[in-house]
């Protein structure tokens, strides 16, 4: 059985870098139970929930712009919602959405990215090619599944697929059409329903099919 490089070891190794030559760093870690994670004191955490002590990506990026954040942990596995994951990655066999936050930290603000994988830490220097960042983040998410039940965000990863978003859009459109039909169900000939239905058709026509790009 192949031994997995534990996220706790990753945090310890990255924390050691703080005492070394690096002035700032963004560490990409999976979401695991706190007991398995280690001491995150002194790190600024980014996740989707804005928990106490944890900030949303937009908030951190604003603070990074003001230069008061040096050590950041990014929970890439938590950033899967359409508002958070806006970078479409096309692989040979599938596509998925990633958050742009790692790309921005690395490219715009010059943070080295230190990414946990099952085989160890992968370090990407500032201004790395986007393709390298994308590939390593995909590898990171793929390796997260090797953590089994310890990976707390395992069940949410389907939400970053174009197929899931396509279904969510269809559901939203059905909800809108049902809402109009419901509002005019006692007056089906009312001309007032048409502009609303036309708008829904317009929204539907504007949607992009990411899976067929």
């Amino acid at each position: 059985m192949v031994e997995i490089f534990a996220p706790k070891q990753a945090l310890e190794a990255a924390s050691a870098m703080r005492c070394g030559h690096l002035r700032r760093l963004a560490l990409v870690l999976p979401t695991t139970p706190p007991a398995q994670e280690g001491d995150v004191e002194g790190w600024t955490l980014i996740d989707c929930n804005g928990h106490s002590g944890v900030s949303k990506a937009t908030e951190v990026l604003r603070r990074v712009g003001e230069q008061d954040v040096d050590w950041i942990i990014v929970r890439t596995d938590q950033l899967y919602q359409p508002t958070e994951a806006t970078v479409l990655i096309q692989l040979r066999d599938r596509s998925l959405f990633l958050s742009p936050v790692e790309f921005i930290l690395n490219d715009k603000y010059g943070y080295p990215l230190v990414i946990w994988t099952a085989a160890g830490l992968v370090t990407l220097p500032p201004e790395s090619p986007f393709k390298d960042i994308g590939l390593q983040l995909v590898q990171h998410l793929q390796d997260c599944s090797l953590l089994g039940a310890s990976w707390l965000e395992r069940d949410h990863q389907a939400l970053r697929t174009p197929e899931h978003r396509g279904k969510a859009r269809n559901r939203q459109l059905r909800f809108l059409r049902s809402s109009v039909a419901n509002a005019y169900r006692d007056a089906p000939t009312s001309p007032l329903a048409f502009p609303l239905l036309d708008r829904i058709t317009g929204i539907e026509a504007s949607q992009v099919d990411e899976s067929s790009r």
Partner: protein, 327 residues
């Protein structure tokens, strides 16, 4: 057989007092529940004990076992023994000048209600029992078996049709000739083809097919619900006739027709809700219906423009900020 069943079900009554999960019972009943399912069963209305749900599945299990492998006379006798329905209300169906769609949900002993109804009505005019083919709806195999036993002779006046193109064509033709179609509007194959209707505190996906058939054939709809008789057995409960508004508006555009169809389906489900709301655990779809999301309503007309604005601006409908081709 009926007596034995009654006895077995009565002897199992103490199960109703259980309110803890039992993997043994679930295995015996082939009813593997998820935590979401358990939550759904317990939360509805004032909540029911899990044991009541187990007991209901036990009763269904006994009924399914009893009808398996019996011959026509015995099956008819069994259904008659369990049936406590007052059939006075079917007079309007028998005497109808047009075709009639009898809409029945997957509630309580719906198989027995449909079968008993079809057998009675088939004596007066041709009846088509319309349901998903067992190849795609595994649970419907029991229909096929039962109908083969009961109706596989021309005098029965009952024919099974499945939800495919041929079945639909037969239903339309039959309704136009003034025949009867028994249909289950709470089932669908393709979620994208459904509309959402409020039902028992949630939104549910429903096909408009029953309303479309009524509109295209000039038929009317009779909502019917199978309910459980206290103790053991079933009562088929008849609702109120629903006429499609196409009669008042003979020239509707496709969009207007869809809105009118939707209104008809809402009325059908409103009648179902009246009968089912207090005993929703007898509904086959109860776990799926209640296990997801909080109570949801459709928005009021005044809120629709703002909702459309919000949706059109939402991230879900925005193109990706960046596309990286890593193929």
């Amino acid at each position: 057989m009926s007596l034995l069943m009654r006895l077995a079900v009565a002897l199992a009554s103490p199960i109703k007092r259980i309110d803890r999960r039992s993997t043994v019972i679930e295995r015996l009943l082939q009813l593997p529940l998820t935590p979401n399912d358990v939550h759904a069963v317990r939360q509805y209305g004032k909540g029911i004990r899990l044991g009541v749900y187990y007991h209901w599945y036990l009763e269904k299990f006994f009924v399914a076992r009893s009808v398996r492998g019996v011959h026509r006379r015995k099956a008819t006798a069994l259904i008659d023994a369990l049936d406590a329905t007052d059939y006075g209300d079917i007079r309007q169906v028998v005497e109808s000048a047009t075709g009639v769609l009898i809409a029945i949900p997957h509630h309580a002993h719906y198989v027995l209600s449909m079968t008993a109804l079809a057998a009675r009505l088939g004596k007066f005019r041709k009846v088509h029992v319309f349901y998903g083919q067992p190849a795609t709806h595994r649970n419907n195999a029991v229909f096929d078996r039962l109908h083969q036993v009961l109706f596989d002779h021309p005098e029965s006046g009952v024919e099974v049709i499945h939800d495919n193109r041929q079945g639909l064509a037969k239903a339309i033709k039959g309704l136009k000739r003034g025949e009867i179609v028994l249909i289950m509007p709470d089932a669908f194959q393709d979620e994208d083809a459904t509309m959402m209707v409020p039902f028992c505190g949630r939104l549910m996906n429903a096909m408009l097919g029953t309303a479309v058939l009524a509109r295209k054939t000039g038929s009317w709809i009779l909502p019917v619900v199978s309910t459980k008789k206290a103790g053991f057995g079933f009562i088929t409960s008849f609702g109120t006739r629903i006429d499609h508004p196409i009669r008042q508006h003979p020239t509707l555009t496709p969009e207007q027709a869809r809105i009118a169809d939707y209104g008809v389906i809402r009325r059908v489900f409103a009648q179902f809700e009246d009968r089912m709301a207090n005993e929703l655990h007898y509904w086959q779809n109860v776990r799926g219906h209640l296990s997801f999301g909080p109570t949801a309503e459709l928005p009021a007309l005044a809120d629709l423009p703002a909702l459309l604005d919000a949706v059109s601006r939402s991230a879900l409908f925005n193109p990706p900020g960046l596309v990286l081709d890593l193929r």
